[in-house]
C-alpha cells in the first residue's frame, strides 16, 4: 500500500492555532514578558531575570495571602461537599415538590458575584441588615468591619450559601441516575440506611464529586468580587485573598513586573494543586483496578 504524503493538511490546524494563540498563548506570553523586565515607560526598560519572582516569593504579605487562600479554599470545600451531598439526599425525587425545591436550590447560583457581595453587605449591616441587626439584638457585638473572626465567618457563610447548590445539584443528578433496583436489592439484603449511602449512593457519586471538588477548588481559589464588595479585604488584611492582592498591585500601584511574576506563580499554584488532586483521584482508581486482577 502506498501512503500518500500531503503536508498541506497541516494548514487545517491553522484556525485552531490562531484561536489558541489569541485567547491564551499571546496574553500569557505578554505576562511572561512583563515578569522578567522592569518597565519605566514605552522606551525605557531593563531586563531583570528572576528578580521579581524572588521578590514575590519572599514577600511576607503575599505569603500570608497564600496561606489565607488555602485556609479559605479548604474550609469551604470541607463544608460545601458534605453539605451538598446532604442536601441532595434530602431533595424530593419526583412530583412538583422536586421542581420547586430544584428551583429554590438553584437560585443562589444565578446571582452575579458582585451582587452576592452587595446582598451580603446589606444583610450583615448592623443598622438595617437582617443578620447584623438580629445578632446585635441577641447581644452579640457582630461587626465585619471590626472583627476578623466575624469577617471570616461571614465570607465563608456567603460562599457556602452561594456555591453549595452547585455540589447539591451535581449530587442530585448523580443520585437520580441510580436505578430503583439498587434500593430494592438493598432492602432485600437488609442494608441499613448508612450502608445504602456508603455502598450504593456514595460510589455512584464519585464521578460527579471529582468534578464538583475540582470546580469548587479552582473557583474558591480565585475568589475576588464577593469579599472585595463585602469587606474590601479587611479588617486589616484579614480577608485579603490572592486575587485582591494581585489587583491592588497591578491596577492600584501599576507594578507591572512584580504583578506579572505574581500572576504566573498564582497560575502555577492552581495548576499544580488541580493536577495533584486529579492525579491522586485517578491513581486511587488505578490501584483499585490492580487490586482486582
Amino acid at each position: 500500500m502506498t501512503k500518500v504524503q500531503n503536508n498541506r493538511a497541516w494548514w487545517l490546524i491553522l484556525p485552531m492555532l490562531l484561536l489558541v494563540a489569541f485567547s491564551a498563548i499571546i496574553p500569557l506570553m505578554t505576562v511572561v514578558n512583563y515578569s522578567v523586565q522592569d518597565v519605566f515607560d514605552a522606551n525605557t526598560r531593563f531586563f531583570t531575570g528572576t528578580e521579581w519572582f524572588r521578590e514575590m516569593l519572599n514577600d511576607p504579605a503575599l505569603q500570608a495571602a497564600v496561606l489565607r487562600q488555602f485556609a479559605f479554599s479548604l474550609t469551604v470545600l470541607a463544608i460545601e461537599v458534605p453539605l451538598g451531598i446532604g442536601i441532595a439526599l434530602l431533595m424530593p425525587r419526583k412530583g412538583w415538590q422536586a421542581s420547586a425545591v430544584l428551583i429554590l436550590v438553584t437560585m443562589p447560583l444565578l446571582i452575579p458575584w458582585n451582587v452576592v457581595g452587595s446582598i451580603w453587605q446589606i444583610f450583615t449591616r448592623g443598622d438595617i441588615g437582617l443578620m447584623g441587626w438580629s445578632l446585635r439584638e441577641l447581644g452579640y457585638g457582630y461587626s465585619i468591619t471590626a472583627s476578623p473572626v466575624d469577617a471570616w465567618a461571614t465570607i465563608i457563610l456567603m460562599d457556602v450559601w452561594h456555591w453549595t447548590p452547585l455540589i447539591a445539584l451535581l449530587c442530585y443528578s448523580g443520585l437520580r441516575s441510580i436505578p430503583d433496583a439498587y434500593y430494592q436489592a438493598a432492602r432485600i439484603d437488609r442494608a441499613s440506611r448508612w450502608a445504602v449511602f456508603r455502598y450504593i449512593q456514595l460510589p455512584k457519586l464519585t464521578n460527579v464529586l471529582v468534578i464538583g471538588v475540582l470546580l469548587r477548588f479552582m473557583h474558591s481559589f480565585m475568589i475576588y468580587a464577593e469579599p472585595f464588595v463585602l469587606t474590601g479585604g479587611g479588617p486589616g488584611s484579614s480577608t485579603t485573598f490572592l486575587s485582591q492582592s494581585l489587583t491592588t498591585m497591578a491596577i492600584g500601584q501599576q507594578d507591572l513586573g512584580p504583578s506579572a511574576a505574581f500572576s504566573l506563580i498564582y497560575f502555577l499554584i492552581i495548576l499544580l494543586v488541580s493536577w495533584v488532586f486529579y492525579t491522586a483521584i485517578m491513581n486511587m482508581q488505578k490501584d483499585k483496578q490492580e487490586g482486582e486482577a
Binding site: P179, A181, Y182, Q184, A185, R187, I188, D189, R190, A191, S192, A195, Y199, I200, P203, K204, K288, Q289, G291, E292, A293
Partner: protein, 366 residues
C-alpha cells in the same frame, strides 16, 4: 422455607379503580408450594413483575392477602420477609469485592465472621465464583454479576424463596443455557422455592416444573409445560405457548353442521354436541399447527384448503393455509412433502379444543 399463598389478591396502581382493566392484578388465588420451581410467564405489562414485587414486599397489594406458611405478611417490608430477589439488571455493590458482596446480607444482620466465611465459600463454590472472590464486583462480566446477585440470595440460611425478575435479559445467548442449568442445579441442591418471571416460553419451560401463564392481570393457566402445550386452558395460552401459536377458528352450528365462515368442518359428534350446547356466540375451535394433518391429495374427511406460502425452517416448515376465510398455520416435518396450491386437511378429534368465551371446555369424544 415457606409455602406462599395468595388469597383474593388484587392490585391497582390507581387511587380510584373502576373497571377490571384498571387492575394490574385482578383478583386471584394461588399457592406456590415449598421447594417448587415455578415460572410466571406472560407478555410485557401483564402484571407479572407487579405480582413478584407484591410477594417480595416491595409493593403492598390493594386488596387480598399474601400468606407465608399461613401467616399474613401484607404489611411486612421486604427485609422482614426472608425473601431474595434477583432483578433484570444485575445489582452489585460496585466498590466491594465479590466476597464482600456475597457477605453483605449476612454482615447486615451481624452474623459471626466465621459463619459468614463458611457460607460465602460454599455459595461461591456452587456458583463457580471461587477464583473471583478477591476481585472488585464492578469488573465482572454481566453473567458473573448476575451470579453475584443470585449468590446474595443464596448465602442466607433464612431465605424462604428466591424470586427472579427476568434475570437473563442482559446475558449473552450462549451463556443463558449455562446459567439456567446452574439455577436448576441450585434449586435441586438447596430445595428453595423459586419463582421465575419471564416472557420467554423456552426459559420458563426449561427452568420450571410448573408454569403460571399470566394475561391481563390474571393467571389464566397453571400447569406443566406439557399441559400448557397440549391442553391450553385459555385461547391466550394457545397463542402464547408454542411456535407458531395455536390456530383458532370461529365456529357456529348451522343446519346441524359445524361451520367456520362458509366452510363446513369435519368434526366428531361429541364436539358437535358441545358446540350446540354452548351458550355464547364466542365459540372457537383450537388446534396446534403440529397436529393438523396436511395431505397433498384428497383424503376421506379432508377439508380442501389453499396453500398461501411455506416457510422452510430447516428441520421443519410452516405452511400458511387458507381454509375458506380462515388463515391457518400447519407445521410439517422435513420428511413429509410440502403441498403446493391445494392441500387437504384433517383435524384429529382428540387434538381439537373447544373454547367458549376464550376458555376451554372439556368435551367427551366418542
Amino acid at each position: 422455607m415457606a409455602e406462599i399463598t395468595l388469597k383474593s389478591l388484587a392490585h391497582t396502581y390507581l387511587a380510584d379503580p373502576g373497571s377490571p382493566e384498571d387492575y394490574a392484578i385482578r383478583e386471584m388465588n394461588h399457592v406456590w408450594h415449598q421447594g417448587g420451581a415455578y415460572a410466571l410467564l406472560g407478555p410485557s405489562g401483564c402484571g407479572k413483575s407487579t405480582l413478584l414485587n407484591i410477594i417480595s414486599g416491595l409493593l403492598e397489594p390493594s386488596s387480598g392477602d399474601v400468606l407465608f406458611d399461613g401467616e399474613r405478611v401484607n404489611a411486612l417490608p421486604p427485609e422482614a420477609r426472608n425473601i431474595a430477589q434477583v432483578f433484570q439488571f444485575p445489582v452489585i455493590y460496585d466498590t466491594m469485592t465479590v466476597y464482600d458482596n456475597l457477605a453483605f446480607p449476612l454482615r447486615n444482620v451481624k452474623t459471626p465472621e466465621a459463619r459468614v466465611h463458611e457460607r460465602v465459600m460454599e455459595v461461591a463454590d456452587v456458583l463457580e465464583l471461587t477464583t473471583k472472590l478477591k476481585r472488585k464486583a464492578k469488573n465482572l462480566t454481566a453473567d458473573e454479576k448476575q451470579k453475584v446477585s443470585m449468590g446474595r440470595g443464596l448465602v442466607r440460611d433464612d431465605v424462604s424463596a428466591i424470586l427472579f425478575d427476568e434475570p437473563l435479559t442482559v446475558i449473552d445467548p450462549q451463556l443463558k443455557w449455562k446459567l439456567r442449568r446452574k439455577l436448576k442445579e441450585i434449586h435441586q441442591r438447596f430445595a428453595i422455592t423459586m419463582v421465575y418471571v419471564t416472557h420467554d416460553q423456552l426459559e420458563a419451560s426449561t427452568f420450571a416444573d410448573r408454569i403460571a401463564v399470566m394475561y391481563e392481570g390474571q393467571v389464566v393457566q397453571f400447569g406443566t409445560p406439557r399441559e400448557l402445550f397440549e391442553t391450553p386452558n385459555h385461547t391466550f395460552v394457545g397463542y402464547f405457548i408454542g411456535s407458531p401459536g395455536m390456530n383458532f377458528l370461529d365456529v357456529a352450528l348451522r343446519d346441524g353442521r359445524v361451520m367456520a365462515g362458509d366452510t363446513a368442518l369435519a368434526v366428531g359428534q361429541g364436539m358437535r354436541r358441545a358446540i350446540d350446547g354452548a351458550r355464547s356466540s364466542n365459540v372457537k375451535l383450537g388446534i396446534r399447527p403440529e397436529f393438523i394433518e396436511v395431505h397433498e391429495t384428497p383424503v376421506e374427511g379432508g377439508m380442501e384448503a389453499s396453500v398461501e406460502h411455506a416457510q422452510d425452517l430447516g428441520t421443519y416448515s410452516i405452511v400458511y393455509l387458507k381454509l375458506g376465510d380462515t388463515a391457518l398455520k400447519a407445521r410439517i416435518e422435513e420428511d413429509q412433502p410440502t403441498p403446493t396450491g391445494r392441500a387437504y386437511l384433517r383435524f384429529p378429534d382428540d387434538r381439537l379444543g373447544l373454547y367458549v368465551d376464550e376458555y376451554r371446555v372439556e368435551i367427551d369424544h366418542d
